[in-house]
Symmetry: C2
Subunit: 352 residues, 2 copies
């Protein structure tokens, strides 16, 4: 049988609770669709940090390198600064494995509760394609005149031609596979006048190669407003690291629950493993209560299977999630139900 080698990193907080449910469903899909998953578990987390002073061992990246994919829960815990936890585990994986596409579906699932009035599943079904390696999340910056009135900090946003072109191309290729074939670019070239006009330039240049794709662009301020007022306008939305980050939290919020939102950190060339993780974080406020919604994790598992070539299995998982929700199957509190994390995971696994 086909075999996929998966590095599993549950991480912190509810990541420890949702990852097992993700694996439960992946396992059910493997049995049904006839492939094997070779799982290697890593307990890297803020707890590891407390014990060893490191989020992952020195050879951590090397150990992950041979996996076909990485299946991640959530990273971060109160008391451990973000520059330690996130920049010691999540961000290095994204960058060193050149996972330059962060792909996040925003879909209003049947029976899920959107905060918007009069919106149904036919109105919200788009992808956010986020640049995932450069832009506003840069490592160049610093502070001058500390402790004085002249004190200031600065940080450079860096956008490269290679970095812009490859993620914009991915967005166009994705649009080509979809019915509406439309790409929207997130910009702010009227206010941020060195980097964003360049983004616009590369977007316009790439669009020339795809005459069959409709394009438009909005400044990020009004684009956020449109996400709320006209979510039906969008098909594929491409943005920089920061703008993509914002839009891919706002999109799921508009579609109902961040708890169901999935994401893929993709190295399309498969030179390195890609990483699949829910959009939600470790959620310290509900961790340990086993009430977290596992659907974001499970859906991320489906995205992983698609990346690994198991498209049939991936489609089956997504269809099962949609069907169970539409039929009033078990749901967690964030979706207005009373079910626990494990109940939802088991229901989906059994139905698969």
């Amino acid at each position: 049988a086909r075999k996929h080698r998966i590095a599993v990193i549950p991480g912190d907080g509810i990541g420890k609770e949702t990852t097992p449910e993700g694996l439960r469903v992946l396992d059910a899909a493997a049995r049904r669709f006839g492939f094997d998953l070779d799982l290697v578990h890593y307990d890297w987390s803020c707890e590891t940090y407390a014990q060893t002073g490191k989020m992952m061992p020195d050879d951590g990246m090397d150990r992950l390198r041979d996996s076909d994919s990485i299946f991640l829960g959530a990273v971060g815990w109160p008391g451990v600064p973000d520059h330690v936890s996130l920049w010691g585990l999540l961000i290095p994986i994204r960058r060193q494995f050149d996972q330059y596409v962060n792909l996040r579906p925003c879909k209003l699932l049947p029976g899920s509760k959107t905060p918007l009035a009069n919106r149904g599943p036919e109105d919200i079904d788009f992808y956010v394609v986020r640049e995932n390696t450069e832009g506003e999340y840069s490592s160049i910056g610093g502070r001058m005149f500390p402790g004085t009135d002249r004190e200031f900090v600065s940080q450079q946003t860096v956008m490269t031609r290679i970095g812009c072109d490859r993620v914009i191309r991915y967005a166009f290729e994705l649009a080509m596979t979809r019915k509406r074939k439309k790409v929207t670019s997130a910009t702010k070239s009227n206010g941020i006048t060195f980097t964003m006009p360049y983004w616009d330039e590369r977007f316009a240049e790439m669009a020339k190669n795809y005459p069959g794709v409709t394009t438009d662009q909005f400044h990020i301020d009004i684009l956020c407003a449109h996400f709320v007022q006209h979510p039906d306008w969008f098909d594929v939305v491409v943005g920089s690291n920061l703008f993509g980050d914002i839009l891919s939290d706002l999109g799921p919020a508009v579609a109902g629950s961040i708890g169901i939102a999935a994401s893929a950190n993709i190295n399309p060339e498969k030179t390195f493993p890609s990483m699949f993780e829910p959009v939600h974080g470790s959620a310290p406020d509900i961790a340990g209560k086993w009430i977290a919604n596992p659907i974001g994790q499970i859906w991320s598992g489906a995205m992983m299977l698609e990346h690994l070539g198991e498209k049939e299995a991936a489609d089956c998982i997504v269809a099962t999630i949609e069907r169970l929700l539409a039929e009033g199957g078990p749901r967690t509190r964030d979706m207005g139900g009373q079910a626990g994390t494990v109940d939802v995971g088991k229901a989906i696994a059994e139905a698969v």
Copy 2:
């Protein structure tokens, strides 16, 4: 009688249609509350640019300097690049007159249509306080290796101690005047690791001076999500130039219509004139049809009167807008009505 000297710049597109309605209401308020407005009109716009090659004359800033306030419509028109129109008129006024606070109320007016389900006026009533002179809108940046595969652009975000402290202080002072006394800080210190942690530091430092004010902070991605899911959480929200820009378009979108959103660009020390303008832009798609909503402009006029010490008149205008909407008075298309720009302006002016 008290006299206020106002520079009026209608600017482009619907700015030319909404400004007269703003003035109509200001004039009604002046008569009722016994003050004089000394208006000086400037036709600076993209049309001026087409004729003269400049958005404003060389001594433009000097001419404005003696005004008590500036009343602006909208700036920008297709065919004139933003770096010419916006950076030739709007941005220099904000910067050179050190209008370091951009204040934008987000209020769900009675009878106005929010895209959110089950939300009423009691749920949405907060202010966005935006830094307006530095941050992400910086003038340091450039491009290297143009036309090659190595091509890249970079732009520095700059945050100064003075710049952060004064706008954060303004937010706390504003919160002190309100019932809930709460300030929320918009950050992204988990991803943007040089500038945003400094913002957090200055926010925490300032909070120590206001023990009676409740504080919290959210990363901009989840904060945008909360604006949609929990608009009732917010009282005063303070953010950098970019984050404030995003939140002050998203807030009004959540509250119903960007057409009613007002903004004040304030130099609190009154060393320079402050500027009052609606949040909407020149809206080329509807310009010339006289269907634009003038409420954003009229409400900006109310904010101007408050800044000029005419608080009673300002409150009267806002109360009149709210009352007319609640009573089903005339409204423009964006609010589900059929009235024209002038109808709405006249109705409000008469009621004042």
